[in-house]
């Protein structure tokens, strides 16, 4: 009797478990899994956004087209340049800043707050501010001219293609350097004190302490942040979109998301846009898988 009652209670609980999980599960099936399969499916078809004609099967046609397409490879290389150009300085500087902040006796919270503050802005506002700073008469030219002891030199922040790429990197770096500094400060804070104490007793100075204790133990966090930043950079859209709609040349900053958007919305070519989405998805899949693997191993590092 006792046993039976418990059994039915367990069953009842199991039913409630399903009821609690069901709404979210349904949502993910409809709004994540269906669309990704649909994107894969559509990437084998030729379909115009506006026409009512049924999609026409073209096999690997869209992928073959992309492999020859100059604009596609251009946007792949733009995305790669942006991602590599952003994540290396971002990770290096935020790690350095975090190590420096933790070494301070005072103002730790102040520095973190100040550096973090741009992350509170929306990316549209960030792009807008920097658009004025990069103006030929703006602060960027003024500052650089003061630093380089030149006068009136225009560095073409928004017109020469390499400077334009650099500009988008600067905006992104500016917005997120504080965010990742805070992540690293948290990572350093997670290292048990006794390890530092042991190192100090053994006669290590703070320089040695950083390189032999903090940095090795922070390696998983660093790897994880690197992959996180890479994933984010691959998805970059706002800055490039806003810079290009407000008059900067599109070609050097035509990143993959911008290309997908324009192919679908301006050229109405759903098949090609889907094929690009699928390729982006595959790259992200590999990176996310890497991220999850690192996250798993991170838990055991201090033991």
């Amino acid at each position: 009797m006792q046993h039976n009652k418990r059994f039915s209670m367990e069953q009842k609980k199991a039913r409630w478990g399903w009821i609690f999980v069901a709404p979210s599960l349904l949502f993910f099936l409809v709004f994540s899994f269906y669309p990704i399969f649909n994107a894969i499916y559509m990437s084998f078809f030729k379909k115009n956004l506006l026409s009512l004609k049924p999609p026409e099967f073209v096999g690997w046609g869209n992928y073959v087209y992309l492999s020859h397409s100059k604009t596609f490879w251009q946007s792949v290389s733009n995305t790669a340049i942006f991602t590599i150009g952003t994540f290396i300085p971002l990770v290096a500087f935020s790690l350095m800043l975090a190590a420096f902040i933790v070494s301070r006796r005072r103002f730790q919270k102040f520095f973190q707050m100040a550096l973090y503050s741009p992350a509170a802005l929306s990316s549209v506002v960030a792009a807008l501010i920097w658009l004025l700073i990069f103006d030929p008469r703006g602060l960027a030219n003024q500052t650089l001219n003061t630093l380089m002891q030149t006068s009136g030199v225009n560095y073409h922040w928004l017109s020469s293609s390499s400077m334009l790429r650099l500009s988008t990197i600067v905006v992104y770096f500016w917005k997120y350097v504080g965010y990742f500094t805070v992540v690293f400060v948290a990572g350093i804070g997670g290292i048990p004190d006794y390890l530092h104490e042991a190192a100090l007793i053994d006669g290590a100075d703070s320089w040695k302490d950083f390189w032999h204790i903090t940095f090795p133990l922070l390696k998983p966090t660093t790897l994880l942040v690197s992959v996180m930043v890479m994933i984010q950079c691959l998805k970059t859209f706002s800055t490039q979109y806003l810079f290009s709609t407000s008059g900067a040349p599109t070609r050097p900053i035509d990143v993959i998301t911008l290309n997908i958007y324009n192919t679908a919305i301006k050229d109405h070519n759903i098949g090609r846009a889907s094929a690009m989405s699928v390729l982006l998805f595959l790259v992200m899949l590999i990176l996310t898988w890497l991220q999850l693997r690192i996250a798993k191993t991170e838990d055991v590092t201090y033991n």
Partner: protein
């Protein structure tokens, strides 16, 4: 942090000064554009383009804010767009908090067949970034007639895998005895969730709510796809359009930027605990 003190004393004096200098310069680099936004928002456009940049104008040009609110055509559409942003961000935050905690609770505290499969399936959606599914979502929402509506802006973001993960991790540590005691007292499962689980998940919910609100406030790509009319635009769309129209008056542009950032800055300075919290960030890294 007693170690920090010991560490600092080991540093050479000159290295110490260099580190201070570096930190201060980093702060100057980060904060200057923000100061520029506020300073320029109170200046007439002619002053902003003066060389060198004057930083403070002779007279405070409040008109920028008024003109920013009024808009180039005097329709005050900015207010309507701000309202849209608030409605969408708040609605998405509310549904995300409720659905994620429901799901996280179900996964953390109930044993049922297929639970692990469900968890893995939801985690797998983290590997599907929005950017790769926006085109199919757009076609679906067109078919369903969701364009240019609040539903169209809100529905694709009702919940997210990170939220489910965050709430599950948090609720795994929730004491079972409390739940069982409530069950013995005859409380129904929905009541236990709403009266015991939700009220005691404050920190996790706050972190999730802030992250969700911020990402919606910032959302440009999806509104760009589904919104057509000026009335349904959100703030990021308004600014995008505004930039194209009145590219000439930088003062008004910065006033609009400052007004658009205000809610996030208020949130940031009052709730910085949840922005800069070890716990929240740790789960963010792991997500």
């Amino acid at each position: 942090m007693n170690v920090t003190k010991a560490k600092a004393s080991f540093l050479g004096k000159s290295a110490n000064i260099l580190i201070w200098l570096f930190l201060i310069m980093a702060c100057v680099f980060v904060v200057t554009p923000l100061l520029f936004m506020f300073s320029a928002s109170f200046m007439p456009a002619i002053d902003i383009m003066k060389l060198p940049y004057p930083w403070v104008s002779d007279h405070v040009h409040w008109q920028n804010y008024w003109n920013g609110l009024r808009g180039p055509d005097g329709s005050f559409i900015f207010l309507r767009n701000t309202l849209n942003s608030l409605i969408v961000a708040l609605a998405v935050t509310a549904t995300t908090v409720v659905l994620s905690s429901l799901c996280g609770y179900g996964l953390a505290k109930f044993r049922f067949k297929g639970r692990n499969a469900v968890f893995m399936l939801i985690m797998a959606t983290m590997m599907i970034p929005f950017e790769t599914i926006m085109i199919p979502l757009y076609m679906v929402s067109m078919k369903m007639g969701l364009q240019d509506s609040y539903a169209g802006l809100i529905v694709p973001f009702l919940t997210n895998a990170f939220g489910v993960f965050l709430m599950r991790q948090f609720l795994l540590t929730f004491p079972d005895e409390v739940l069982d005691a409530a069950r013995i007292d005859g409380a129904s499962e929905p009541r236990i969730f709403s009266h015991i689980v939700l009220p005691n998940s404050g920190p996790a919910i706050a972190t999730l709510a802030i992250l969700t609100f911020r990402s919606q406030w910032d959302n440009l790509l999806w509104p760009l796809l589904v919104v057509q009319s000026d009335e349904m635009k959100t703030i990021p769309l308004y600014i995008t359009k505004f930039m194209a129209e009145t590219h000439s008056d930088e003062g008004i542009m910065m006033a609009v930027a400052a007004m658009a950032s205000l809610p996030m800055f208020i949130l940031f300075f009052t709730m910085s605990k949840y922005f800069i919290s070890t716990e929240g960030l740790h789960s963010t890294i792991k997500g």
